[in-house]
Each structure stands twice: as C-alpha cells, then as structure tokens.
Symmetry: C2
Subunit: 292 residues, 2 copies
C-alpha cells in the first residue's frame, strides 16, 4: 500500500487527512503549527518535523495549504518536499494556487524524477468532512490512475481534466462560475425586495427553470433569512478570484463580470465581513442603494 | 365554461392559444396581422376584427404581445379591450412589460369594473408548444383562483406571486438571473478555452457542484459546439433587460451585473446576432480578447 505524506492540516486538510487514514493508508503528517497535528496523531498518523522529512517516509505526498507562496514553500522551499522525496514518488497539490506557478513547481520536481498532480477541490469544509469533495486533477494520466484510490478516499466526483496546471485552471473556472452566478442571485433578490415582491416566492417561481442555479437554491434562502454564516468565506473567495484575475491578465483575457464581483466583495472586506459566507455579497449591493 | 378572448398570435401566443382551445374553452382571437389567425380558426376559434370585439365575446381576455406599448394599445387604446369587456370580466396580460405600466393599465380597467392579472411566462417557444411554461401571476387571489384552470392549460409551474405588477416583477427577476448567470458561463468557458482546458471537461467537472446552473448545463454545451440557434433570442433578452434596467432606475437600485450583460449583448446586436440565441453572449466576450 502506498505510504502517504500529508502537509497542511487546516479546516480542509484535517478532515481530508482523516479520510486517508480511515482508508487504511500509513500517513505521515507535517503542519507549520505543530499542535494541529494532534488529532491526526491520535488517529494513527506519524509526525514529521519538516515537509522534507514527511516526504522521506512517503510514496505520495499531499499538500493542502492556503496560497501559491505556501505551496512553493512546502514543496520546493528550504526543507521542502523536493529535498526528501524519492524519484518515482508523486506530489499531489490539492491547494488552490496559480496554474502558472503550478507548472513551475512541477518542472522543478520533474528534474528530480518526482511526478506531480494539481488536484484542487470544491465542496468546502462540509464536503471535506463528508468525503464528498469534487476533485479536478491535472497531470499525466498514469500518475492520475495511480493516485485515484487515494483521491477517492477524500472525494466523490473526481475528474482528470488534462495536463499539469489544468486542475488549477478548472478550479478557477469553477470559482468564476460560483462568483458571477452569486451576483445574479444578489441582484435578483435586491430587485425583488426593493419592488416589494416576496423573495421566497421569487425563488420558488424561478428556481426550476432557465434561471435556476445551485447558488439561487442554496445561497438565496440564506440571503433572505439574513444568515451570513459560512459556507465558503468571502476572504477565501477573494483569494481565488485574485488568482483567476491574475491568470486572466497573464492570458490578456477580459473577464468583466468576474472583475465586478471581485470589486463588490472588496466592500464586504472593507466592512469587516471577510469571514462571513459569500452570500454576504448581497450586502455590498444593498450598500449601493437605499434599502429601507 | 368561461369564454376566452386571445389577443396576440405570435411565436408564443399561437401555441398557447391552441392549448386553451384543446382544453375545450370557446375562444375568440384577434391579431394585428390577420393571416396569423388562420391556424387558430382552423382549430375552432372565432375571429374578431378588433380587441374590443374579442372582449365583447369573452369572460377572460388573454393578451400575449411584444412590449409595453403593444399591451397598452390592445388593452386601453382605441378599439381596445377596455371598450368591450363587461364588468366582472378579467384581462390576463401574459406579455412581459413594465411593472409600473401594468399597474396603470390595471387601474384603468378597474374603473370599468374589469379585473386584471399580470401573468408573464418563462420557458420559450418550446415551453409554449409543450404546454410546460412557468407562469408568474400577480393580482387578487380570488381572480387568480378563477383563472387558474385556464393558466393550467398553458403552463406547468404556476405561482401566484403577489398583487398586480408582481408577476412582471418576478419575470424581470427571472431575466436578471438568466442574464447574469449566462455571463458566468461565458467567462468560465472563455477562460477554459484560452488556458487550453477542454471546455467539455470543465463543464463536466463543475456542473454538479456550487458552480452549477441551468445556463451552464444547457447553454454551455451549445457555446462549445458553436451552436447559436435560438432558444431564446438576444433581441428579446435585450428587451427584457431594458425593462429590468428601467424598473431598477425607477427604484434607484444599482444592478451593475445586469447592466454589464446588457452592454455586452449590444455588441451581439451591433454584429447582427440579435436573432441568435442568448448563448451568443460568449461571442461578445471573445471579441474583447484575442482568441486564436
């Protein structure tokens, strides 16, 4: 059975790593804040003092960190995975980071004979806990096939979407869809409310037709009930939109709707709503108007 | 059984009127272009020379015309319904027109003791032909209840959404949702294409999660296949967005996403794509970039 290294035990990484353990894999963990390793050690994982040390004891090393710089640090930085992993081993980066940075990291790993998949996830901490994440994986097909059983312990819909970087690209497409569709829901609900139309009736009358979306069915009622608990946090959505906008800029691709949502979310961040759920976007719109 | 008048036999009105006939109601039709009455006359309807004359022979008069001015003309204009309808009769305007104009028309009808429902539809000509339209109705509940059997002959999801004008308001909310969600799909697909990600794989990997929508599942593949046949025409979408933006302006409500889609669709209209399906929105985005 493949030996697994797992780097990054945050709100997503911890439940994902537990699922890998439950599937029977031997796991060695590393986390910058050491105390967060405790739940995993209790569940049977071994601890490593550095990403390099975790990689020395693993055939497949999974990383689940916050941003591009964090992934670069734990994979190719000082004491990083690249310095411990054996030729023929695999790094699976499940963080959401830049597609172009992903290809640079993959190239450095390849020089040591280490393979890489970029396999970011969708579904939030509830999906991580339930083991029902959507996983979008980029990399060589044989490497994907080798890693599939491990991915299946964490996720449900697992799609091989192309070469290295394409997992991250698919994830950014996912975030563009999520963000702009959210704006659609916010504008329709603001319109209904301002015009005196019962917003629950509006949702009921529109959700099963061409206007329907996951965002309308799931975030719409939360907006109506003024329930702004996350779900998926504004600050994390903004991080992903920044990656999407940076990548679009690299490609000289205008994405005006995505840019607009990114701007409106800045109002949420300015008002201290960055740790609320993305349904707080409706408050940015409301601040533009005179809702009574 | 209620006697029905039916005014406006276009691409929507003709199949809707046929369903009313099939349900067994006696129907009198009027259409500005008289030749379009022929299919209905063959199916058993009577013809009237004016909206007034059709109303004289009906208990419930349905109107299905293009825009606000057309509805005003056939309902309260010269030889309009108001001059022929008896007190206690009902006008059901199933066109998509201005909510504020709807309330003005309803007030004029009320002075003659004529009731009114605004009951715009969603589902396009395919929904009209199948008798599966979504119908969003505004007006008094007893009037709605009285007219429900007639509406059921034309539609499937029939929702009473409030007082007069609220049917139109709900329809504009529907169009805001449809238009901005469409933009989400266009930007994600443009991003995928530019980044070299297989767009079909992108749709497959995202459609069942938080990014999912009717627009993604139905218009996304058409965009990939470069199939721009309508569905729902750009020109009609633009008419509805104009109504939404005018109504939002009356309410002093900023709807920046809706406004942006309206602007992008202008590019489609400028390029002679007004009679294509709304999935042609992706071509407006592509013209902003250098797709190879």
């Amino acid at each position: 059975m493949e030996r697994i290294g797992f780097i990054g035990l945050g709100i997503m990484g911890t439940p994902m790593c537990l699922h890998v353990l439950e599937a029977g894999y031997p796991v060695t963990v590393y986390n910058r804040t050491a105390v967060k390793m405790q739940p995993l050690l209790k569940a049977g994982a071994a601890a490593a003092p550095t990403p390099k040390a975790a990689a020395q004891r693993a055939d497949i090393v999974i990383t689940m960190v916050t941003d591009t710089a964090d992934a670069q640090q734990v994979i190719i930085g000082e004491d990083g995975i690249v310095h411990g992993a054996a030729p023929g081993s695999v790094v699976i980066d499940m963080s959401t980071i830049s597609p172009s940075a992903t290809r640079m990291i993959a190239a450095e790993l390849q020089q040591k004979g280490i393979d890489m998949l970029d396999a970011p996830v969708s579904g939030g901490d509830s999906g991580a806990m339930a083991g029902t994440l959507a996983i979008m994986a980029g990399g060589k097909k044989p490497v994907f096939d080798r890693c599939l059983p491990v991915l299946q312990s964490m996720g449900k819909t697992i799609t091989h979407v192309g070469d290295q970087g394409m997992g991250q690209t698919a994830k950014l497409c996912n975030q563009i869809l999520v963000a702009v569709t959210n704006m659609a829901v916010c504008e329709a609900l603001s319109f209904a409310r301002k015009a005196g139309l019962d917003p629950d009736l509006m949702i009921e009358a529109t959700r099963n037709g061409a206007a329907g979306s996951w965002q309308l069915a799931n975030l719409g009622p939360k907006m109506v009930q003024r329930d702004f608990a996350p779900g998926f946090m504004v600050d994390l959505q903004q991080k992903d939109l920044r990656l999407a906008l940076e990548t679009a800029r690299e490609m000289k691709l205008p994405v005006p709707g995505t840019s607009l949502v990114n701007q409106l979310f800045l109002s949420c961040q300015a008002k201290g709503e960055g740790r609320e759920g993305t349904q707080a976007l409706i408050k940015a719109l409301e601040r533009l108007a005179a809702h009574s």
